[in-house]
Amino acid sequence: MKIRDFQSRDLWLRVAGHRLVVRKSSAEMERKMEKRFGIKEVVAIGIGTALFVALTQVQIPLGLPNTYLQPRMAVLAFLAAVFGPVVGGVVGVIGHALGDAFFYGSVWWSWVFPEAVVGIAIGLFAAKYAIKEGAFDKKAMIVFNIAQVVGNAVAWIVVAPLLDVLIYKEPALKVIATGRRRMSWQCAADRSAGYASGSRLFQNRCEVFEP
């Protein structure tokens, strides 16, 4: 099965490859691409959310109290980078809300929406990550990290506190609402660092494909 060989060159490359193929194909597909939201995106949201939810309880303690690196962030970043802002945003919202509800029995809305902001921010530049070359090169890396730093800053320094104020109002409650989170800027910084090291690991995987 030749198509398999093509696919298996690299799973990562293949994800990209598929999109490329889809983009170029028949009239029907093009009509669908106009909506920029085809079956693949629907399924990506579904399975991406499943991944995100399943990984909710998988955390790496950072040694600092109440600070964890969450592997599910990597899932969000990856999906947003491959499938764009809609998928990134929706997986952020639904994934976080469902994950909270399933595992913690309560949903903290002031955490849910910032997650979506990050997904959207990363997803906005999906086309720039040079996915079609199969390489997550230096330039892509820079774009990605600018997007994620800005995204995290907006999400955790602006949106999250804003929602906290709107919904919970009291400053002390921020401690409860955020539980593991400390100050908002610190949260943004932690997360940015997490994404950055993640993207570095990811780049390591892709480097071998550079021509």
């Binding site: 099965m1 198509i3 398999r4 298996s8 060159r9 690299d10 799973l11 194909s25 029907e28």
Partner: protein, 578 residues
């Protein structure tokens, strides 16, 4: 009569490929026919299927020349949705194809997309659920079903659409032998009652031929190399030339020196005219060499009266007891979900037994951690993508050593040595992603081998592989077993594998040890085969029908002969893709 599927001088090239995958295909399939398409991996048989259901060119783009007509229509014009009204596809991955949250919803999926009113849906779903006998499971979720049940749901899911063509893409790939038999039966039933056209893509020829087919199309290197009646195909040599496994009884007849004739109707062993061959088979049986393997007495892995349950009172494994000797190659067989994987989990320490113990080289390992056990017992997962986490081959193989803090120099030495054994040394600095599936499988084996384990456990090492890749993987395992004396345990439901490569089969059914015997004895024992969802080997039928009183002896001799042939230069240059 006009054909319902018509390929005319059809050539197709994927956009991502340089060479066409299909060349000059001329193929006519007529309404109501039941056609089997066989061919090795990479032959283009799946691409033919994709052309029929519209995945080519809509999901996999490419360029074609020549014409393709499905019921007089051009798929490229009809679109993938138009095609789905004509052709119903049952995919190989039954779990992936199961989209709905319950059986009923999954069956109704196509109707929902067609805006069929709910009332009508209820009626139709009930109707087809009846046909495929899942009517008692309508509210079940996918994880409550077995692989065979999921596949039947998939069939129902395409039947609701009243399609005229049913396309089965490797329907047997993930099923145990008895369930596979049932699937073929059901396909036969659909073809009989619905008067539909059936196209089956499969490389497990013997199992697919359990019920009559009208024609077999053999695909090789993108071309059709044969398009004949089953009897004619089995009488010829096309299969061997294309690297497709013949039914075992045909191979046995050939070993006995018989020339299989088309007139003898060799499609089914039960109804084949054996009179002309009997004498010769019996003669061969008497003369064939046979050697009883003397077993090593030293124990490698001993499972001692093991019990396990997730929930108290509902045992998953009951009193499992066996002793695997050093340097043995053993298969653990049984129906899907019988507890085989649970057993592997217990041996590797992922799960803790409720009672009983496990001994490695005579030493109780109950108190050892997963990591400690991992140094002596290696586990190779079914799919390489479940294991491979590093971009480069060297790194992937070195992973187990580097996390154990082995000095860099030693890592390099050991990894290189292992890569040489596995035939991967030339690729040591390649990205894993550039390898074929079979090579990736080797990388995962290498990454275990590098730790010098005493025992390697492989979960379905050959699932979904064609004959060539199967042989390649198994010969490789055999060579490391012989050269390094590593004990190899394989969890499988591939009967060929257990017959041809293992000396012993541990049969587990419903959580209990059913048998611990030679594969030949297991596969000629109807009671055991039935209980464990295995299938009696056709060699048994051949022996019985030829009047040989000890069918299991016949099987033993056959295997011995086969092994001798493989070792004696049986490699015909097709064994390696390196």
């Amino acid at each position: 009569m006009t054909p319902i599927i018509e390929f005319k001088d059809y050539t197709f090239k994927y956009r991502s490929q340089v060479e066409p995958t299909l060349r000059d295909i001329n193929l006519n399939i007529y309404p109501g026919e039941k056609v089997l398409i066989v061919g090795p991996s990479g032959s283009g048989k799946s691409t033919i299927a994709h052309c029929m259901n519209g995945l080519v060119p809509f999901s996999f783009a490419g360029d074609s020349t020549g014409t393709l007509r499905i019921k007089g229509e051009d798929p490229a014009k009809l679109g993938i949705f138009g095609m789905s009204k004509l052709v119903g596809t049952v995919l190989q991955d039954t779990n992936g194809q199961f989209i709905g949250l319950t059986v009923a919803e999954d069956i109704a999926f196509a109707l929902e997309n067609d805006k069929v009113p709910q009332k009508e849906m209820f009626q139709k779903v009930d109707e087809v659920a009846n046909v495929v006998e899942v009517d008692s499971l309508l509210s079940h979720a996918p994880w409550e079903l077995s692989g065979g049940q999921k596949q039947r749901v998939s069939m129902a899911g395409v039947m609701v659409d009243d399609v005229e063509i049913f396309l089965f893409d490797e329907p047997l790939a993930n099923l145990d032998p008895a369930t596979g038999k049932r699937a073929i039966d059901l396909i036969d039933k659909i073809s009989g009652t619905r008067k539909a056209t059936i196209v089956i893509i499969e490389h497990r020829l013997e199992d697919a031929l359990y019920r009559d087919v009208d024609r077999i199309v053999v695909v090789g290197e993108g071309r059709i190399v044969a398009d004949v009646k089953p009897d004619a195909l089995l009488a010829g040599n096309v299969l061997i030339d294309q690297g497709i496994r013949e039914p075992l009884y045909i191979t046995a007849l050939k070993h006995a020196g018989c020339t299989v004739k088309e007139q003898s109707r060799p499609q089914h062993i039960e109804s084949m005219e054996l009179e002309p061959y009997k004498e010769q088979v019996r003669k061969w049986f008497k003369g064939a060499a046979f050697e009883k393997k003397t077993l090593n007495t030293e124990s490698a892995l001993c499972v001692n009266h093991l019990d396990f349950s997730y929930v108290e009172g509902r045992p998953v494994l009951k009193d499992i007891h066996f002793d695997i000797r050093k340097k043995e190659m053993v298969s653990i067989v049984g129906k899907n979900g019988a507890g085989k994987s649970t057993l592997a989990g217990l041996i590797c320490g992922f799960l803790k037994p409720t009672s009983g113990a496990i001994y490695l080289n005579g030493e109780d390992i109950s108190d050892q951690s997963i990591k400690e056990r991992g140094e002596k017992i290696g586990l190779v997962m079914q799919s390489p993508s479940q294991m491979i986490s590093k971009p480069l081959i060297f790194e992937e193989v070195a992973l187990g050593l580097s996390v154990r803090g082995v000095p860099e120099e030693e890592i390099k030495e050991r990894v290189y040595e292992t890569l040489k054994i596995c035939g991967l040394y030339p690729f040591r600095n390649w990205p894993v992603s550039a390898l074929s599936y079979g090579q990736k499988k080797r990388v995962t084996i290498a990454s275990i081998l590098v730790m010098n384990p005493d025992v390697i456990i492989l979960d379905e090492p050959t699932a979904g592989q064609d004959y060539r890749h199967y042989t390649e993987i198994m010969e490789f395992l055999k060579s490391i077993n012989e050269k390094f004396g590593i004990t190899i345990v394989m969890i499988t439901h591939d009967m060929h594998l257990m017959l041809e490569y293992t000396d012993r089969a541990i049969v587990i059914a419903d959580g209990q040890l059913l048998a611990d015997d030679t594969p030949a004895n297991v596969l000629t024992n109807e009671v055991i085969a039935d209980k464990a969802y295995l299938k009696k080997t056709s060699l048994y039928d051949l022996a019985v029908r030829c009047g040989i009183p000890e069918p299991s002896q016949f099987v033993e001799r056959f295997i011995h002969h086969e092994r001798g042939q493989r070792e004696g230069g049986g490699r015909n240059g097709k064994n390696s893709d390196l």
